[in-house]
Amino acid sequence: MITAISLVVVPLLAGFSFLFIDKYLAKFRKLFILGTGLITLLLSINLLIQVSNHPLIYNLGNWKEGIGISLIIDPLGGILAVLIAFISFIIIAYSLSYIKNHQLKYYTLLFLLIAGMLGMVLTGDLFNLYVFFEITSIISYVLVAFNKEDISFEASFKYMIIGSISGILILLAIILIYQSTGTLNLAQLVIAARNIPIQLKKVIAVLILIGFGAKFAVVPLHTWLPDAHSTAPSPISALLSGVVIKVFLYALLRVLFILFRIEELLALDFNNLFVYSGVITLFTGHLLAYRQDKLKRLLAYSSIAQIGYILIGVGLFNAAGLEGAIYHVINHAVVKGVLFMTAGIFILKSKKKNIADLKGIAYQLPLSSFIFTISALNIVGLPPFNSFISKWLLLHAALKADFIIPASSILIGSLISLSYYLRIITLLYSKVKEELTSIKVPYQLQLAPLLLSLFYLPLALFPNFLLLLIKKAPLFLLKTINYYNILLGGEEWIGLFG
């Protein structure tokens, strides 16, 4: 039980107390940073083991559900918590040798960002979700501007304007939900939301779709993402692209499925909305990525495209689609993390951001280039890799639900991405006459991406182990009555088709 709350409190406390560590115990600083990341990771794994069979509820201040704030953790929350803690741990290890200045503020903000994301996936209270949502967003704005360059301030400002408008829309939606149901507890809302008139529900749905959609960059609202993710420091780009946008997507799905039953969503044609906005997002992301000449910008556009894949899977509103989507979320977080980290190494080495300037860098950075190549082929979705499995699951689910165009666009999109990633890979391995630079890249910097890329192996070879866990997620996300039953302490869950 105590694991749930300590998962939020540990990084929060670490963020608050890092100033003291930095000032008085500077010797133990590295140990403290890594230790916090490791403890968070272990706690999250412990939590996942607990909730994989019995979702748990933790009442803060021991108030009854609905009176106080509760944390409600179901398998999906557990999986995402482990994903967040794991990627964050790798990012922390990478940052230790990447970030050289303003370390104090950097780690303070990074810990609080981890706490904010974990709070978002663990909380069972609508307004608490908003508070953590704002914590996560504000830190994202700040860390985007961390480099203190002109363009990073500009990107941060753009992100901030769009982000604050989306925050306002979500707050309005929450006020409307509270006023029409009288509760803020997510599980109680499952029952209470049935009384909201459909007209009002539609307005709330529009507000949260725009609000959260702007945050995970669904296509008409994606303009901030390439700027923000490409100007941020590389570890932050990896974290933003890898997990932060997925957490916002999780928040949308959680609230949406609680407000509407699946039948209502299908009657309102939300599945078409999701799937086809996913298709548009996918193509926009891929086609714009094709035209980029800066490496990190290309990766950022590729992230938009991957959000498109995930949206297609989610929009099917069935278990198979969701499983594929969740598996793709995990794969993309891992792979895009590696890609951004290696891109950071390239940029550190060559001091240039354009792809053309990276020509022949593979001869100086053989390991990083190899990892980059593997990861690029992985994210394209070529057969032996793990992304292929999740894309295959998505394709299969889309075909089964008679969405022919989205299914074929998954294939076409992968072909487009293959073309632009191949362009980079051939550049990396093409021969050049002179040495590029003599800048030394610290060896430890390559450890973190190497470690993360080693996880392709289990993800690709033993997908069934993970899928077994993932299979439990739709049970609580789609059949929200199960989510409500967590409150009652039930042990019997209603199957998806039962």
Partner: protein, 111 residues
């Protein structure tokens, strides 16, 4: 429909109009603040009950207004103020770098 909800709607739309129509950074920030304030007003208005007293129970009152929206309003104000402070800082930075507050001249990032 009470008058105050019309005020909320007008303020909300006015804020959005300010954001969309202006190219001045400061005015955009003001627009976001107006939208934020309209929601705070909405929260306070929703908690109101006719002839209700403030939720401080020093003696038994018959009608007491809903205390939850007021607590939520405080949170919304704090978050709004923090974002405003950050946006103002970035505005200062942008003004120093580009020597203008016009967003159409600042935009170097495209695509």
């Amino acid at each position: 429909m009470q008058f105050i909800y019309l005020v909320v709607i007008i303020l909300f739309c006015l804020g959005l109009y300010t954001i969309l129509m202006n190219t001045n950074l400061i005015k955009i920030i003001i627009g976001i603040n107006i939208m934020d304030s309209s929601l705070v007003l909405l929260l306070v208005a929703l908690s109101y009950k006719p002839a209700g007293t403030a939720p401080i129970i020093d003696k038994p009152y018959s009608v007491i207004v809903d205390p939850i929206p007021q607590a939520l309003a405080l949170t919304a104000i704090v978050i709004g103020a923090s974002i405003t402070a950050l946006m103002l800082l970035l505005t200062i930075k942008l003004h120093r770098n580009y020597n203008t507050l016009d967003i159409s001249e600042i935009r170097r990032l495209r695509g």
